[in-house]
Symmetry: C2
Subunit: 172 residues, 2 copies
DNA sequence: CTACCTGCAAACAGTTTGCAATTGG
DNA sequence: CCAATTGCAAACTGTTTGCAGGTAG
């Protein structure tokens, strides 16, 4: 979260707002807040988490608005929906570039992993099958390094998966 | 769907029944039917579809029983749960080997794709991050060859379609 | 002004759970 | 026999929708 990212974020926001308007959609304070949160979050939040995070600023905002906004952004391909685990879909506000996700089954951390080699292989696979690729996602579920060294908890690792310590920030 | 698969299926059934008993579970007609259906289906059926398919043979069987049985099989790692599409989770009764699924966003077709090269890369990626892999899924969303050549339908191809997961198991 | 948007509540779909009756081993 | 299982219905959870009042452009 440096000055670098700040300007990155505002540029992105500006661009998406323009796209919204261009598509006949309005830019409301709620939408702006949701976009800001999702675009700048490295943690792939759920709709519920976005909602809760913005409660302070928008006490009257409803979950429905969060969902509606996320769908809008999804349509514009400005966010991607991660696989639906038991607890609900998670939204990736990163640039819409296909990439793998490392998901910790214990703490719920989600780490992005842009691996060129990985992408190459997927493309080869798809081409071979004559598939017309539109989206893709790879999720690797397991335990992150810190959860591995942590003493096993009473419950099974995968039982709850609450986001305790979020995924690291390093690109990789 | 040849004689080959027939014997393959019965061997698998026998083995899983043995495992069920070994774990203190019972082998009921309902469970047997569900297993038979899931293990022999190449189409990654949803719980609902399994339920409907067995209605003829077991008119009184409830959806809850289907779910309970699927959970049991999941526990024993005899089926993998594919991602939750809008319409519900899909179950993969194939051997629990991680593999990619090609999902058609228009017709919903799900094609398995066991590609060694793909697996190699995933492992490399995981090792590099120090992740302890427990499951993984690769989702390639797009249009299958036949849907590409078919005339575009009234609705957008991407209207609803979303997730498709491949659940893997072995702890590499 | 006038679509478009918000927030609320009610509707939904898939999945899970509690429990009495049933049944496999 | 008796614990495990079934089937039913009701509860739950995440998501979607309808609509009246509010608001961006």
């Amino acid at each position: 979260m440096g000055v670098q990212n700040e300007s990155f974020l505002s540029k992105r926001l500006e661009s998406v707002c323009a796209r919204l308007r261009a598509h006949g959609h309005r830019v409301t304070p709620q939408r702006l807040a949701i976009m800001e949160f999702v675009f700048s979050s490295a943690q792939h939040p759920t709709a519920q988490q976005i909602y809760e995070a913005l409660q302070a600023r928008f006490p009257t905002m409803s979950l429905a608005t969060v969902y509606k906004t996320l769908h809008l952004l999804e349509e514009l391909e400005e966010v991607a929906v991660l696989g639906v685990e038991a607890e609900g879909a998670r939204y990736d506000g990163a640039q819409p570039v296909p990439h793998a996700h490392l998901v910790c089954e214990r703490c719920g951390a989600v780490v992005d992993a842009h691996e060129p080699a990985q992408q190459q292989d997927c493309l080869a696979l798809v081409k071979k099958r004559g598939w017309l690729l539109r989206h893709w996602r790879l999720e690797l579920l397991g335990l992150c390094p810190s959860c591995q060294s942590a003493p096993a908890q009473g419950q099974e690792p995968s039982t709850r998966a609450d986001v305790a310590h979020a995924g690291g920030d390093q690109p990789y």
